[in-house]
Subunit: 358 residues, 2 copies
């Protein structure tokens, strides 16, 4: 393996949203610099980074200049176009690797990969046209959920199907995008494991957190999760299998359903994950620093939890609560986004309690 | 009082060293931006800040443009020239206030202020010339320590006087700078209290830490300090008196000697302090965020300690230990300084243990 990147090295981050911003803050703690690549205007990560390239994902010159100016490239979201990655990868390593990204970018590939690993997933069937939707419904049953194979996040690109759903109307609203139909899983809780794998193959996981969603968006994550010890161990082992199978380098977020028959994998994200934000105040080394350490070839840090935490997302008008939260003793994390919009993640807050007091 | 500065506001920081850098990282967590003013080349804080002004302390135009571009100004070191502060203050509030700065900038003013508050200090006498040095020695005794009244830090501008010291040679080496002679205090430990006071006068202190110096530079700070509970309370009360007497807004570092007769104040620094770096990994809200909250008119955060911590400075060639420390499970904080020099503070590391295990 190559040597760890020395302090002063430059990390290229594709995407300048809040995840890129918090990666940049963690990199700074290790004396590393960040260069953000983002097509948008005033990305939040640029406020705390050493350099910014504002250019489109298909700007070959900008991508190549960016790749030449950094020592390693990572990404804060999984839908970076493949052609952009091709240009970068010809010049500079991308971590986590392309396999991890390609696997998670497509729900069909992802589910097939998980099943091939022997892990449980929701029942699913591919849907490429209306006839396919009808046969998928016959196979998977109702209620179920239709999801585009690519480019979905926070509940977008999804439709719930019930007994009385108008299949042609729903299919037409999906604009013919290749999709899968997923059966519902009867779960008692959703938990996620934030795992990390270093360049030399060491694996470390944070304690599983218990997630609550609403309208398809994560609202809270609580550690410890209400999970029997055996399932806690299963969750960690399962994340380790995924990391090793992908020869992964960096942090991964694995979402799991807790069912009477054990853990069912919902999906994984090849990046730092909203459900891991509690680690910023619950551990000496948070998920963002763990990711930076891994992609720079550093040893993983100690992710032991020192406190119980309830992480709460601040979405849209939740920003009105900031004055009250600032006075509450909780740890605020705001993303520096100028405009508050409905459904937009504006920040989060970590409520701490002494270890074991929950 | 004025309203708290909203997220998106800009904090001007005078000085772009490691303290400015860690202030900027803390400000970012609250959605606030930073603008660094520093005469030097590539100050570490600029790597993580939204804006940088590179200009001299006597550049009136640059100072005024800087002051107009920010919402509040703070400083990372106490020796900012008064003329620069005059120009800024005509346009923008400076926190902590000028009184705090002026008091701490001059060892004579500082000691007089502390004595007027009824606090104990080392015995001292003013020294303005060689004759004054001789009479100060007669008054304070030997061994003692001669210190310039202004511009000393990390043991610079100091000389130790023993029975066989050559007073004329020592005085001439001080280049006639107005000085004070301080008697030695027979102390069993040096502790410091990091206190904070908000714009509306609320005071909060972190747990006292125990400091070990060598060659005039802080090496380690350990919490909890080996201090009886009554002296812990005294330390906090004393810091509160200083904060209130100065009508202070922000974080202060108060260094104390533990003696058989109680606590003796060594000095205070009107800023975040090296001996408070342990708070970054020992508390939900660290000293840097506490300072940012205070100067922006926000409520103070919860500085309750959740872990025992030993903070160790990385000075000069200590950087060679970074690979080993990175693998040790400790929390590293590196300052992004390109050049390693002997005696230069390059970073620090926080070693955590569960609360009460020390």
């Amino acid at each position: 393996m190559s040597d760890p990147l020395p302090t002063g090295s430059v990390i290229g981050i594709l995407g300048g949203g809040q995840l890129g911003r918090m990666l940049a803050l963690a990199a700074a703690r290790l004396g590393l610099r960040c260069h953000i690549y983002d097509p948008g205007d005033a990305p939040p990560a640029a406020q705390v980074s050493d350099a910014l390239t504002t250019a489109a994902w298909d700007d070959a010159d900008a991508l190549e200049a960016f790749a030449r100016s950094v020592d390693v490239v990572t990404y804060e979201f999984e839908n970076v176009p493949a052609e952009a990655l091709d240009r970068i990868e010809a010049i500079c390593p991308i971590r986590p690797n392309r396999t991890a990204l390609a696997t998670s970018q497509d729900r069909l590939t992802e589910k097939t990969f998980l099943q091939d690993l022997g892990l449980k997933t929701a029942p699913f069937a591919t849907v490429d046209d209306l006839a396919g939707l009808e046969s998928a419904v016959a196979e998977v049953g109702l209620p179920s959920i239709l999801k585009t194979r690519r480019f979905g996040y926070d509940g977008k690109g999804q439709a719930r199907l019930n007994e009385d759903s108008d299949l042609p109307a729903i299919w037409s609203a999906m604009t013919d995008a290749p999709s899968i139909l997923e059966g519902f899983v009867d779960f008692s809780a959703e938990v996620s494991v934030i795992g990390a794998r270093s360049l030399d193959g060491a694996v470390a996981c944070f304690d599983p957190g218990e997630n609550v969603h609403s309208d398809g968006i994560l609202r809270t994550t609580t550690v410890p999760a209400s999970l029997p010890a055996s399932l806690q161990a299963d969750a960690v082992l399962l994340a380790g299998r995924i990391l090793n199978a992908l020869d992964y380098v960096g942090v991964i977020g694995v979402e799991l359903f807790v069912t009477p028959g054990g853990l069912v994998v919902n999906e994984f994200a090849p990046r730092v994950h909203n459900s891991g934000h509690w680690t910023q105040n619950g551990c000496a080394i948070c998920q963002f620093e763990q990711h930076i350490r891994a992609i720079c070839g550093w040893p993983l840090g100690d992710g032991t939890r020192h406190s119980d935490v309830m992480m709460e997302n601040l979405i849209g008008a939740d920003m009105d609560r900031v004055p009250e939260l600032a006075a509450s003793g909780a740890a605020l994390h705001l993303y520096g986004k100028a405009e508050v919009r409905e459904g937009r993640k504006m920040g989060h807050v970590n409520h701490l309690k002494p270890l074991g007091s929950g």
